[in-house]
């Protein structure tokens, strides 16, 4: 299957995404500069992490105006898979492709460490190969990962089962102590109503093989491969 990775000024996980897709998963990948509008016919678009436009104004607020984002929105509207990681999640929220917003961590500090994730539901193109009975070890690296949405929005997310991953402890328990950044209800990642756009703050692009400390991120990539394989 074909992946495309969008590249903004200030993206810095674009090559982590390229590496995991090409070298770990063995799939072709195209890098698409933010000024371009041709996504090169992908099955899945990855909006990578980093500090697009230096996080000026708000994280992701300026990147959403890049020409490539119009193409990403059109691709998503046609049912294409869009996967935002870290700053990519922030951009997708600012672009209105996902509800809510990522605000400053409760501690006000940048946090870079491994955390545990509970896959809340694997009924999605991005999590269908993820185990739900074990905590996945995946790193976070962000200053603004505190997910927030108003009560009506939260209720809608829950009713539609759009919360796909939550922060948990090593035993898989979703507790306040296991919440690294103050996210509402320990939310680490959500999808849209149609389930073809997914954003998460932790980095499956940096946890695809044991030499990096964990291979648990691979479950997400395997999920996408199996979704696209089944579509074809």
């Amino acid at each position: 299957m074909r992946f495309s990775v969008t590249v903004f000024p200030g993206s810095n996980c674009d090559h982590d995404c390229e590496y995991v897709v090409r070298n770990v998963m063995g799939q072709p990948v195209e890098m698409v500069w933010h000024k371009e509008t041709d996504l090169r016919n992908p099955d899945c678009v990855i909006v990578p992490g980093g500090f697009s436009y230096g996080d000026y104004l708000r994280t992701g607020a300026i990147a959403r105006f890049s020409p490539v984002m119009k193409s990403v929105a059109d691709f998503a509207a046609k049912g294409g898979l869009v996967f935002g990681i870290c700053n990519g999640f922030q951009i997708l929220c600012e672009a209105g492709l996902l509800p809510g917003v990522l605000i400053r961590n409760k501690s006000l500090k940048f946090i870079c460490k491994n955390v545990y994730l509970k896959v809340e539901n694997n009924d999605s193109p991005f999590t269908n190969a993820c185990p739900t009975n074990k905590a996945l070890k995946i790193p976070i690296a962000h200053g603004e990962g505190n997910y927030f949405i108003d009560p009506a929005g939260l209720q809608k997310l829950q009713e539609n089962r759009q919360v796909l991953v939550r922060y948990c402890d090593a035993q898989g328990k979703v507790t306040e102590e296991a919440n690294p950044n103050g996210s509402l209800e320990n939310i680490a990642g959500i999808c849209n109503e149609k389930r073809n756009v997914f954003g998460m703050m932790p980095h499956p692009d940096r946890s695809g093989e044991d030499v990096l400390g964990s291979h648990d991120g691979k479950y997400f990539w395997e999920s996408i491969l199996s979704t696209v394989g089944a579509r074809k």
Partner: protein
């Protein structure tokens, strides 16, 4: 810092924008609202208000 009189703090952003003087007041308000909604404020967490002044 030793200022016990401070009971609370609220921080925000302040933006000054210069508009084409030929715009009607209605058009100016409409455009500033659009700019705030699309870029300057995120309605999930921020509200905004603005005033128009003649230079």
């Amino acid at each position: 810092m030793g200022y016990p009189a401070v009971q609370g703090v609220r921080m925000g952003k302040f933006t000054e924008m210069e508009l084409d003087g030929g715009l009607s007041e209605g058009d100016a308000k409409r455009q500033v609202n659009e700019i705030c909604d699309k870029l300057l404020a995120n309605p999930n967490i921020e509200s905004y208000r603005f005033t128009l002044e003649k230079k």
